[in-house]
C-alpha cells in the first residue's frame, strides 16, 4: 500500500526505456528523471529489474574471442580478387553484377504483371535473366499477391516495348539487332511461314520510399521491417529487350510454335548493395513465406533466376540445350510445353502445342 501511495504521489514516473538507459548510459537521462528515480522505490525496483535483465542478456549474447585481422584480410582478398585498391565502381560493372540478382527478377515480374504492354508471346520473355534460368514454383494466388512494388516506392515505366509485327526475319533483325533464330526442321503438324513480332526496350525505374513502405505495411496490418541504411530513395533501373518472336499457326490463342529471343534484362542501383536490398525486399509484408524462402536460396551464387511458374497450371524440369542449362515448362493440361535457356546474355525460348522432345528438338536445331 505504501508503494501505491508513493507512486500516486509522484507526478511522473519515467518509462521503462528511461530506466533501461539509466543502466548503461545514465548521462543521456534528464536530471529530473534521475532525481525522481533516486527517490522512488517503484522506479528503483524497475531499475533493478532492468539491470538484471541487461546483465543476463549481456551474458547470453557474449561471444568473446580474438580476431586475426591479417588472416581475415588475406581471406577476403583471396575471395574477392578484384583489385582492392581500384577506383569507385563503374556503372557498367555494377549493372553487370546486379543483372544477376533475383531483385531484378522481382522488379521484372512487376513490370510484366503491371502491363508493360508486350504481346502474349513476349510477356514471359521479360522475366528471364542471364546465365541460368531456374524455376520457382508458386501458386497462382502468390503471383497475384506478389508485392506490387509501387506500394513501396515509385514505379515508373519510362519506355514501353511497342511490340508490333514486322514483315520478315530480316526486318526483325534490323529492328532488334538480334540474330533471329531459324528453325531447321519444323515439328510434325507445324507448317507455313511464321509471323514475326518485335519489341523494343522496356525501361522501368523504381525508387524505394520508406514512407510508402510504411503505409503499405500499416495497410497490411504488419510492422514494416526496419529499413537498411541508404535504401530509402535508392533507385533501381531495369532495361529489358529488345526481343523478337516468330509464331507459327496460332489458333485459339495458342500458337503451334513460338520461337522467341530477347536481350536479357539489365539493371543497376544507385548504391545499396544487392544483398541488403534483396533481403529487405524478401522481408516485406505480403511476400508469401514459401516463395520468399525459395527466392532466398537463389542468393547462393547469384547466377540463377527465379522464374515464377504457376504451380497449379504448369510443371518444370531441367534439361540442356547445346550444353546450356535449360528449363522445361509444361502446362498441366498438356496444351503447351516450352524450353528456355540463356547464352551470352541472350534469352531464347521455344514453346508450342508440342511435346517436350519436340520443343527440345527445335531448340537444338536452331540456327
Amino acid at each position: 500500500m505504501r508503494l501505491l501511495e508513493h507512486r500516486s504521489a509522484q507526478r511522473h514516473h519515467p518509462g521503462d526505456g528511461v530506466l533501461r538507459r539509466l543502466v548503461d548510459e545514465p548521462a543521456g537521462v534528464p536530471d529530473a528523471d534521475r532525481a525522481h528515480v533516486a527517490g522512488c522505490p517503484a522506479c528503483l525496483a524497475g531499475l533493478a529489474e532492468a539491470r538484471a535483465d541487461a546483465a543476463a542478456t549481456a551474458t547470453a549474447l557474449s561471444a568473446e574471442g580474438s580476431t586475426d585481422v591479417d588472416l581475415a584480410w588475406r581471406r577476403f582478398s583471396a575471395a574477392a580478387p578484384a583489385p582492392v585498391h581500384a577506383v569507385a565502381p563503374a556503372p557498367a560493372r555494377r549493372r553487370h553484377r546486379l543483372m544477376r540478382s533475383p531483385l531484378v527478377a522481382a522488379v521484372g515480374v512487376v513490370v510484366v504483371l503491371g502491363g508493360a504492354g508486350a504481346a502474349a508471346a513476349g510477356d514471359w520473355l521479360q522475366i528471364f535473366r542471364t546465365e541460368q534460368v531456374a524455376p520457382v514454383q508458386v501458386q497462382t494466388a502468390d503471383l497475384v499477391s506478389l508485392p506490387d512494388l509501387s506500394d513501396y516506392g515509385d514505379l515508373q515505366v519510362v519506355s514501353e516495348p511497342d511490340v508490333h509485327p514486322v514483315a520478315d526475319a530480316a526486318a526483325a533483325e534490323q529492328e532488334t539487332g538480334l540474330d533471329v533464330p531459324e528453325v531447321a526442321t519444323l515439328p510434325a503438324g507445324v507448317t507455313g511461314d511464321p509471323q514475326y513480332l518485335v519489341g523494343g526496350q522496356v525501361v522501368a525505374e523504381f525508387t524505394f520510399s520508406a514512407a510508402k513502405a510504411a503505409q503499405a505495411a500499416a495497410a497490411a496490418g504488419e510492422p514494416l521491417p526496419p529499413m537498411p541504411a541508404g535504401l530509402d530513395g535508392s533507385r533501381f533501373r531495369l532495361v529489358a529487350g529488345p526481343g523478337v518472336a516468330a509464331t507459327w499457326g496460332e489458333s485459339h490463342g495458342i500458337p503451334a510454335l513460338v520461337v522467341g529471343r530477347a536481350q536479357a534484362p539489365t539493371a543497376f542501383s544507385s548504391g545499396v548493395p544487392f544483398d541488403t536490398a534483396r533481403d529487405y525486399l524478401l522481408s516485406l509484408p505480403g511476400l508469401p513465406d514459401d516463395l520468399a524462402a525459395q527466392l532466398r536460396t537463389f542468393a547462393g551464387d547469384g547466377s540463377t533466376l527465379p522464374l515464377p511458374i504457376p504451380a497449379q497450371f504448369a510443371t518444370s524440369s531441367s534439361t540442356q540445350v547445346d550444353g546450356h542449362p535449360a528449363t522445361v515448362v509444361a502446362t498441366r493440361d498438356g496444351s503447351v510445353t516450352g524450353v528456355v535457356w540463356v547464352s551470352d546474355g541472350v534469352v531464347t525460348a521455344v514453346a508450342g502445342s508440342l511435346t517436350e522432345d519436340e520443343v527440345v528438338g527445335v531448340a537444338e536445331g536452331l540456327r
Binding site: E25, V69, H85, A86, R97, P223, P228
Partner: protein, 168 residues
Amino acid sequence: MTRSRDAVRPDLEQVFRADYPRVVAVAARVLGSRDEAEDVAQEVFIGFGRTSVPADEASRWLSVAAAHTALNHLRSGRRRAAREQAAPTDHVTPDVADDVVTRDERSRVRAALARLPRTQAVALVLRHSGLSYADVAAALDLSPGSVGTTVRRAEAALRKELIRHASA
C-alpha cells in the same frame, strides 16, 4: 566470377582493418559462433566494398549490416546446418563463448533472438555491441527516446524465454 571484375572502394582495406573485429563481434552476438560470424563479416564487407557509404558512417553501416545479415543467417539456419555437417570437429573445439553459456543455452538464446521482432533484435544486438543510444536510434530510424524501450522489451522477452525453458 564477376566479382573479380567488380571494382571496389579505395578505402576498403583501411576500413576493413579498422572495423573487422567490431563486425565479427556484432555477428557473433547474434550467431553465438565466431566462425560463423567471420563468414558473415566477409559477406558484409563484400557488400560494403561496392557502396559509396561515406567513411565517417562506415562503422555504423557495417554494424547494422552485420546485425541484419547475421539475423538472416540465423533465420535461415542454412549456414549453421552446412557448417555442422561439414565440420564435425566443431564439437571438440568449442568457441570461447561456450565458457560462458552452455551449448544448450546458446541454442535457446539464438531461437529466442530469431523470434524477436527485427527492430528489437537489431537494437538489442547493436546496443550490446557498444553502439550508443543515439547511434542505434539513427541506424534504425527510431527516436532516441524509444531505443531504451525497444531494448528493454527485447531483454524482457529474452529473459522470459530463457526462464521458461530453464524451468521446463
